[in-house]
C-alpha cells in the first residue's frame, strides 16, 4: 500500500477506535436497560462504519464478521428482534470479538476465534419470528486494484428487481461471444428524466462502446403546444458491435428508471437466445442457486421533510491534530517561558517593574495555559478498556463484578491518560484477584454476591485524584507483613502502622500471589504501578478496611510539563524544588539547628521542632566536608508527614522550568520528579519532596515544644 493509503488507513483505524467506544457505550447502556432508538442506532452506525471501511481497505475477516454483527443490529434497529438481556449479552460478546478483529486487522493481535460468537449471532437471527435471512455479502474478488480497493463486480447489483440495474448477467453465459451485432432500443420514460438523470449520457456511453444510432422513433412526439419539457418522447435504436459483452451494454443502463424501454438483442438469431428480446421491467429476476430469494419489501414512503426536522445542536467544530505537533508547540512554549525568566533576570530591578515585563509574563502564561489545555482530554479514554477487562476477568475468575465510574469527563493531560493505562490495569486486576471475594464468600459474609469496583476521577486544585475502590475483603495485613518479613523487606520486629503495612504492597519485589495468575500478567506488581505514577510526578495512596474493601488512589499533577520551581545549590550541583511544596526558607541562627540523633537534625522554628534532612544524606552522596548549618539554608517543605526542613547550600532563584522526563531514556528514580535544562544548558534534577522526606525514609515525627 502506498504511503498515502497508509495514512488514510491510519485514520480509518482511529475511526474504528472511536466507533468501538461508541458501540461499547451503547451496548452497555442497553445492558443497563436503555434501549431507546437513538442508542441502538448509534451502535448500528458504529459497526456499519467499521464494516464499510474494512471492506475498502481489504480486511476480509473484519469485514465478514462486522457484516454478520451488523445484520443482527439491523434487525434490532428495525424492531424485528427485541433487545432482550440475552440478545444484548450476545451482542456484547460479539462486540468483544469485533474489537479483536480490528486489532488483528491493525496487526497488533492475532485473528480471534469467532466461531462461537457467529453461532450465537446466527441463533439470535434465526430465533426471531419474521425470517428474513441475512443478506449475503457481495462476493469479494481476490485482487485489489492499484488503489487497494477490492473490486466488487457490479453484476451482483443486477439482481435488483427495482430496476436500478437490469438483469443481464444471467443471460450472458448462454451466449457465445463475438457473434452478431446487438440492437439496442432505449426509450427513456418520464421518470428517467427525474432525479437529475440525463438519458443522453447513456446514449453517449453506448456510443463510447462503439455503438451508433441507427434510428429514432419519434412517433410519440406531440405538437409543440402539448410538449411537456419534462417528459420524454423518443425511442433510440442503436447498433452495438457484437464483440461487446452484453453486461457492458447493460451496465450503461445501471441508473435508468425501471419503467423505461430497454431492449438488448442480437440481430441474427442462430444461438439459443432463449431469453433474447425481453423488455426489462421490474420483475423478480431468476436467481442463482447461491443467493436466497430476496422478497421486495414494501417501500415505506419517504418521510416528509417536515417530519424529519430534528432539534440537534451543531457539534462543536473539531479538528484533528497530530500529537507530535502539540508536543512541539508545548516545547516551544516551555522555551519561551525559560527565555522570559532569563530576560527578566538581566533587567535591573527598576526595569523589572515596568509594565512590559509582567505583561509579557502574563501573555506567556496564557499561551502556556491554552496549549496545556489543548492536550487536556477527558480521562474517559483511560477508563475505556476497563469494562471489557472486567468482563474477561469475571469470566476467568468466576467472580461477579459491577463497575461504577465517576468523573469520567475530568480533564487531564494527554500524557497522563497514556501513562495511567497500565497502572490502572494492574489495580483493577488486583482488585478482582485479591480484593473481591467469590460470590459464595461474599454471601457468607453478608454481602451481595456481586462485588463493586468504583472507578473515579476528581480534580482538586492542581491535582487529579484517580481512585480504584473495591468493596472486597480488604488487605490482609498479617499476611502482607509476614510476606514482607520473609522477603527481607522489613525486620521481623519492626513496629509498623497499618498504613505502613499497606504501603509494603508497593515495595519492590513484593508479590503475595503464590501463583502469578494468568490475569495478573507478568508478575509485575504494585511496585511498578507506584514507580509509573511517581514518574508522572504523582504518588499512590492506599487505604483499606478489613472485610469492607480497599481503595487505591493515584494522585497526579494536573499539568505535566512546566513547573514553578526554586533552584537551589548543594555540593556544587543545582536542584529544583517545586515551589508548591516550599513553605519558607530559613537562614539558621547559630544553634537553631541541633542534632537529634547521629543521623538526623532538628530545627527549632517558632516553638516547634521540625526534622531536618540533608539532601546529601538523603541521596547518599559522599559528604566531603559537610557545611555547618549556619552556612547553609534550611528550606521548610510541606509533606504528608508534616513540615520538614531540607538543608541546602544556597538558593539561586525562583523560576519556571520545563520538566524533562527521566524515564524516557532511563527509568523512574525515587526522589526525583524529572530533570530540567537550565538557561546555560546544564541539568538540574527536580526533587520529589514527598518521596524524599515522606514514607519509609522517615520515621521521625515532629515534636512540639520540647523543652531543651
Amino acid at each position: 500500500m502506498s504511503q498515502e493509503l497508509d495514512e488514510i488507513q491510519a485514520i480509518f483505524f482511529e475511526e474504528c477506535a472511536e466507533g468501538l467506544t461508541t458501540a461499547e457505550q451503547g451496548l452497555s447502556a442497553m445492558a443497563a436497560g436503555d434501549v431507546s432508538a437513538e442508542v441502538i442506532a448509534g451502535v448500528f452506525r458504529a459497526v456499519h462504519s467499521i464494516k464499510g471501511g474494512a471492506g475498502a481497505f481489504g480486511h476480509a475477516a473484519l469485514t465478514a464478521f462486522s457484516h454478520r454483527f451488523e445484520n443482527v443490529l439491523d434487525e434490532v434497529r428495525a424492531g424485528r428482534i427485541a433487545p432482550t438481556p440475552a440478545v444484548t449479552a450476545v451482542m456484547l460478546t460479539a462486540f468483544d470479538i469485533l474489537s479483536d478483529h480490528v486489532a488483528a486487522a491493525k496487526g497488533t493481535a492475532p485473528l480471534p476465534d469467532d466461531a462461537a460468537a457467529l453461532a450465537a449471532l446466527d441463533e439470535v437471527l434465526t430465533g426471531k419470528a419474521a425470517v428474513t435471512p441475512a443478506a449475503p455479502l457481495p462476493a469479494p474478488v481476490a485482487e485489489a486494484d492499484e488503489f487497494g480497493f477490492t473490486p466488487v463486480a457490479a453484476v451482483v447489483e443486477e439482481f435488483d428487481p427495482f430496476g436500478f440495474e437490469p438483469v443481464g448477467v444471467v443471460l450472458e453465459e448462454l451466449e457465445p461471444a463475438g457473434s452478431a451485432d446487438w440492437t439496442v432500443r432505449f426509450g427513456p420514460s418520464r421518470a428517467a428524466l427525474a432525479n437529475g438523470a440525463e438519458p443522453l449520457l447513456v446514449v453517449r456511453e453506448l456510443e463510447g462502446l462503439g455503438g451508433q444510432i441507427t434510428g429514432v422513433d419519434a412517433d410519440a412526439l406531440p405538437g409543440l403546444r402539448d410538449l411537456d419539457p419534462e417528459d420524454s418522447y423518443f425511442i433510440w435504436t442503436l447498433s452495438v458491435p457484437g464483440t461487446v459483452a452484453r453486461a457492458d451494454i447493460a451496465d450503461c443502463f445501471d441508473f435508468v428508471s425501471p419503467d423505461s424501454v430497454v431492449e438488448i438483442e442480437r440481430v441474427a438469431t442462430e444461438a439459443p437466445a432463449v431469453i433474447a428480446a425481453e423488455p426489462l421491467v421490474a420483475e423478480t429476476p431468476p436467481t442463482l442457486a447461491s443467493l436466497p430469494p430476496v422478497a421486495p419489501a414494501a417501500v415505506a414512503p419517504a418521510t416528509s421533510p417536515a417530519e424529519s426536522v430534528r432539534h440537534v445542536e451543531p457539534p462543536a467544530q473539531t479538528i484533528r491534530v497530530e500529537l507530535t505537533k502539540l508536543d512541539m508547540l508545548l516545547n516551544l512554549v516551555g522555551e519561551l517561558v525559560i527565555r522570559g525568566s532569563i530576560l527578566a533576570d538581566r533587567l535591573s530591578p527598576a526595569d523589572q517593574q515596568r509594565v512590559e515585563l509582567p505583561e509579557l509574563a502574563r501573555l506567556t502564561r496564557e499561551i502556556q495555559d491554552n496549549v496545556m489545555s489543548l492536550r487536556a482530554q477527558p480521562i474517559k479514554q483511560a477508563f475505556s478498556r476497563v469494562p471489557r477487562m472486567l468482563r474477561d476477568l469475571s469470566a476467568e475468575t468466576g467472580k461477579q463484578v459491577l463497575l461504577e465510574t465517576l468523573g469520567e469527563m475530568t480533564e487531564v493531560d494527554k500524557g497522563v491518560i497514556e501513562k495511567i493505562g497500565d497502572p490502572l490495569t494492574h489495580m483493577i486486576r488486583n482488585a478482582v484477584d485479591h480484593g473481591i471475594e467469590s460470590p459464595a464468600e461474599r454471601v457468607a459474609a453478608g454481602k451481595s454476591p456481586e462485588g463493586t469496583i468504583r472507578l473515579s476521577a476528581e480534580q482538586k486544585g492542581a491535582r487529579i485524584f484517580v481512585r480504584v475502590a473495591d468493596d472486597g475483603r480488604g488487605i490482609d495485613r498479617a499476611r502482607v507483613r509476614a510476606k514482607a518479613v520473609e522477603k527481607g523487606i522489613v525486620a521481623a520486629d519492626a513496629a509498623l502502622s497499618n498504613e505502613e503495612i499497606d504501603q509494603l504492597i508497593c515495595a519492590p519485589g513484593f508479590s503475595t500471589a503464590e501463583t502469578i495468575s494468568n490475569i495478573s500478567g507478568r508478575g509485575v506488581g504494585m511496585d511498578v504501578v507506584r514507580s509509573n505514577v511517581e514518574a508522572l510526578g504523582g504518588r499512590v495512596e492506599i487505604s483499606s478496611v478489613p472485610g469492607q474493601g480497599t481503595t487505591f488512589t493515584m494522585i497526579l499533577p494536573l499539568t505535566l510539563a512546566i513547573l514553578d520551581g526554586m533552584v537551589v545549590r548543594l555540593a556544587g550541583q543545582r536542584y529544583v524544588l517545586p515551589l508548591a511544596a516550599v513553605v519558607e526558607s530559613v537562614k539558621p541562627e547559630p544553634g537553631q539547628v541541633r542534632p537529634m540523633s547521629p543521623t538526623s537534625d532538628v530545627i527549632e522554628l517558632r516553638g516547634n521542632y521540625l526534622p531536618v534532612r540533608r539532601l546529601t544524606d538523603v541521596f547518599g552522596f559522599a559528604t566531603n566536608g559537610s557545611r555547618a548549618p549556619e552556612d547553609s539554608l534550611v528550606i521548610i517543605v510541606e509533606s504528608e508527614a508534616g513540615p520538614v526542613g531540607l538543608m541546602v547550600d544556597t538558593i539561586e532563584d525562583r523560576r519556571e522550568v520545563v520538566i524533562k522526563s527521566l524515564d524516557q531514556n532511563l527509568h523512574p528514580i525515587r526522589g526525583l520528579g524529572g530533570a530540567t535544562i537550565l538557561g546555560d544548558g546544564s541539568i538540574a534534577l527536580i526533587l520529589d519532596v514527598e518521596a524524599l522526606v515522606g514514607g519509609a525514609a522517615s520515621t521521625f515525627h515532629p515534636l512540639k515544644g520540647l523543652a531543651a
Binding site: 486494484d145 473490486p151 435488483d160 437529475g196 438523470a197 449520457l201 445501471d254 441508473f255 417501500v299 424529519s308
Partner: protein, 121 residues
C-alpha cells in the same frame, strides 16, 4: 474546468479514499461529514455531482437527498448514493428520495468513474 464533486460521508478515511481515487481521475473534490454539513456545503460550493453515504448522524443520506431535491437550483443535479448497503428497500427509498443512482461499497475505481460519467454530463 474539471467537474466538482461533493462527497458526504461521516468517515474521514472514506472521504479521503474517495478523494484520492477521484482526483486521480481528474475531478475536484469537496467534502462534508454528515447530512446537515452536506446541505450547507451544497450551497457553498454548488457542485456538479453529489455523492453521499446513507448512514450518518444528524441527517442521513435519504434526508439529505430529499432536502437537496427540494431546492430548485438542485432539482436536476446528479446524485449518487455510495453505501455498503444494497438492499432493495434502501435502493427504492433512495430513488424515491431523488437519487440518480446507487453504487455499492467497496467499489472499484474504474467502475466508480464510469458511474459518474453516466450521470454527470
Amino acid at each position: 474546468m474539471s467537474k466538482l464533486i461533493l462527497t458526504v460521508d461521516d468517515s474521514a478515511s472514506m472521504r479521503m479514499l474517495l478523494k484520492t481515487s477521484l482526483t486521480a481521475q481528474g475531478f475536484r473534490i469537496e467534502g462534508a461529514n454528515d447530512g446537515a454539513h452536506g446541505l450547507e456545503r451544497m450551497h457553498e460550493v454548488a457542485p456538479d455531482l453529489l455523492i453521499t453515504d446513507i448512514n450518518m448522524p444528524r441527517m442521513d443520506g435519504f434526508e439529505l437527498i430529499e432536502a437537496v431535491r427540494g431546492i430548485p437550483q438542485f432539482r436536476g443535479l446528479p446524485i449518487l448514493v455510495l453505501s455498503t448497503e444494497f438492499s432493495d428497500e434502501k435502493k427504492a427509498r433512495a430513488r424515491v428520495a431523488g437519487a440518480t443512482g446507487w453504487i455499492t461499497k467497496p467499489f472499484e475505481a474504474a467502475k466508480l468513474g464510469a458511474a459518474i460519467r453516466r450521470v454527470c454530463p
